[in-house]
Symmetry: C2
Subunit: 132 residues, 2 copies
């Protein structure tokens, strides 16, 4: 029941580093040196952040990544969604089949309550709020 997997964790570290840096463009090599993360994995993480428009990418010599959004607009909830899909703590194991009373299943209701809280917290947490 980890909320964070490594790619999310690495993503946050990298985003924080980039946000704090004075340079505009940061290469994976620099991030790997500074943060001590495995390079190929970090690359794939940053590539997906680029595809999802969280980062801008610059190819070629002197290239790297920069933030595509203000740190205030990068939400932890969104990062989790990018790497793990929608947050669903309460997904019913009986999809369609069986369990006709899914809608008023007391267990699901309880978990849904918890889920709502978690999601609201994750949505209100931004890279900017983690900078201090």
């Amino acid at each position: 029941m980890k909320l964070l997997t490594r790619n999310i964790d690495y993503a946050v570290r990298a985003l924080l580093y980039i946000a704090r840096s004075k340079k505009k463009v940061i290469s994976v090599s620099e991030l790997v040196e500074e943060l001590n993360l495995p390079k190929p994995f970090l690359r794939s993480v940053l590539q997906t952040l680029h595809k999802r428009k969280v980062l801008k990418a610059y190819k070629g010599y002197g290239g790297g990544f920069s933030l595509a959004l203000s740190p205030r607009k990068i939400y932890l909830g969104e990062l989790i969604r990018i790497f793990k899909g929608n947050i669903r703590l309460n997904e019913c194991i009986f999809k369609r089949k069986l369990c006709p009373n899914r809608n008023n299943c007391p267990l699901r209701r309880k978990i849904k309550e918890i889920e709502n809280y978690v999601i609201s917290k994750l949505k209100s947490t931004t890279i900017s709020s983690l900078l201090d």
Copy 2:
């Protein structure tokens, strides 16, 4: 990021069924018929509930399981702990190595907040509270 795995889900279903039943002792066969769950898996789930003193077990002809605790004393948090170990949403991936500032890591702090809420909710949710 599922909060519930199948064994926990099955455990809750079985416990609810047993709690609602008028009979004292319920066999796995009956549970399987009524709840449409895979028998060998459900057996292993109930066996661990027995080892952890949530259920009483009766061997032999006419045997089965009954609650060892009042439904008010069976906490969802405890069931999760039985099947998944301690709840830790915020475990740092850098154990000891690196990350010298684990204690004031802003990301961990945030996740810890969320974790505290989730744990308190799971602790206050009992089989009894799910019965209605």
